[in-house]
Amino acid sequence: MLPIQTRSLTKRYPQVTALDALTVDVEAGIVGLVGANGAGKSTLIKILLGLLEPNEGSVLVLGMDPARQGEAVRARVGYMPEHGCLPPDMVAAEFVTHMARMSGLPRTAARERASEALRHVGLYEERYRQIGGYSTGMRQRVALAQALVHDPELLLLDEPTNGLDPAGRDGMLELIHRIGSEFGISVLVCSHLLGEVERICESLVAIDAGRLLRADRIDSMTRRRDVLVVEVDEGVPQLHDRLVELGLDVRRAGVGLLVPLASDDTFDLVMKAVAALDLPLHRLEQRRHGIAELFADRPKEAGHVLG
């Protein structure tokens, strides 16, 4: 069963259309939901939680319709909001215990699982301290612990690295990766930073202005798309024309040229072309195509599911 399925999901606000006929299947595992701020990520999450009702289309979360079976969905989903959501004057262990009880766990189980959840996020030693005294990174971990405490089947994390320094960011991403890969919980990570989710996700859903840009597994997005970066100190236009003559799909990128790496012969072709033109070669490098460039390559292919 797919954790999340949407069909022509549409949500309109008076001023703006937040989701526009979004059709996407989210696979089990760690899935990144990327898009600029205002792309509709948070709206989608609230619809998945049954907190908002879509205007059109349908959605299934863990096989249930959140608009009609909201409580059943919310019992099996963990949610970490994008904004701060913790009462500063409560002790972390007690807060997470309380949240476990609010998910229906009996008292003893709630207390045990709260301790466990705080241990998993690395706050075991500090769990009897007040949340108000925590750093931003520790608070984010408490927010993650409360989302995890009732053993959800699906975690919805809205910008989990918000406001963290680089070290905290890495720690949080590593934690999410571990939850998705070792705990057997599906995770949907929202982020406006593609580079982040790319590191931990198995597949990616990109939305823009409420429309689907692309949904695919990360490896299939990058596999066929390795490129050669060629930089020469002079004669860039000549080299460009020469490579085009050879039938390569060359693109100018900054000071260099990008050549799709179709096969191992591409290296030889480029080398020979540079040698034939007698140009000073500065750099010849194989690079994995950044996913950001992939999305930049494909403007507005809305409503189209690849893969």
Partner: protein
């Protein structure tokens, strides 16, 4: 890791097939339903109202309120055991404490309601199986219970003292007991009406100080109006003026139900009851509406 065995079994069971010392355990126990959620939230709110499970600072004010409430009762018991006359009746006790109760409400209701709004923890509550209306009702019930307990404890003390001090034998003791029950009932009415007014008012603001000011203001702002109406108005105006204030409504209710004479209400007793019921219904409805609208 003490749970290495359990975790490895778990890892295999959920298909991961990898043993890690992190030892995540799936939860297979019961997931309780709506009544449990509301009950747990209610108890948590009640504890919070008295500062239990919170910092020492949060215990100061409830502590003062408890000491004050019991102090009045102790004095009443002491006078009665010395003089064998009832200095303060069970009903008078609740009336005498109306201002301290109001201050207690002005602290406790915002404590339970505004803090959740301010810290935005409602996003976490409402992304769980808890219903919004259930949240509102649990919070209101916690505040009402806190006020009632604060009155009922000292009333019990007064009853125990009175039962020993009274001189009427078994029938006197029975009489004392029914008076005591009546006092508990009036305390409950007071708690319900004042709570149902105070909690929705507190929920208008996410700042505790503002919530407190709104509550105190709502109770006090009508007091001079009542004074003026009682002073210059005719007999009917005098009998209706207390309706403008929740405490006045309660006093009128006391006069009508318990036949005391703290107020002159004429034949308007049922009207006082109607207004009291309306205040509670409006409070609950307003609170429900407030939390339906709150964005998470």
């Amino acid at each position: 890791m003490s749970s290495a065995d359990g975790s490895s079994a778990d890892g295999v069971a959920n298909g991961a097939g990898v043993i890690h010392d992190i030892g995540y355990q799936r939860y297979t126990g019961p997931r309780l339903g709506r009544r449990h959620l509301v009950g747990a939230l209610y108890l948590h709110g009640l504890r919070t109202a008295f500062g239990l499970g919170r910092t020492a600072k949060a215990k100061i004010f409830p502590g003062i309120a408890i000491v004050l409430a019991f102090g009045v009762a102790v004095v009443a018991v002491a006078i009665r055991s010395q003089t064998h006359e009832v200095a303060v009746t069970y009903l008078q006790y609740t009336d005498a404490l109306s201002i301290p109760m109001l201050l207690f409400l002005a602290v406790v209701a915002p404590e339970l309601v505004c803090r959740d709004l301010r810290s935005r923890v409602l996003s976490l509550y409402f992304s769980r199986p808890l219903r919004r209306f259930d949240y509102a009702v649990a919070r209101l019930a916690a505040v009402v219970s806190a006020v009632w307990l604060l009155l009922a404890g000292p009333l019990l003390l007064m009853f125990l003292g009175g039962a020993f001090a009274q001189t009427g034998g078994a029938s006197g003791a029975w009489h004392e007991f029914t008076d005591f029950l009546g006092g508990l009932g009036y305390a409950a009415m007071t708690a319900v009406v004042l709570g149902a007014v105070a909690v929705p008012l507190a929920s208008l603001s996410s700042r505790r100080a503002v919530g407190a000011v709104i509550i105190v203001g709502a109770f006090l702002v009508t007091t001079p109006v009542i004074g003026v109406l009682s002073g210059v108005g005719g007999p009917t105006a005098r009998q209706l003026a207390p309706l403008l204030n929740p405490v006045g409504v309660l006093n009128g209710l006391e006069v009508w139900i318990y036949r005391t004479s703290v107020l002159e209400i004429g034949r308007f007793g049922p009207l006082y009851l109607a207004v009291a019921v309306f205040l509670v219904a409006a409070g609950v409805a307003g609170l429900g509406l407030r939390y339906r609208r709150v964005a998470v």
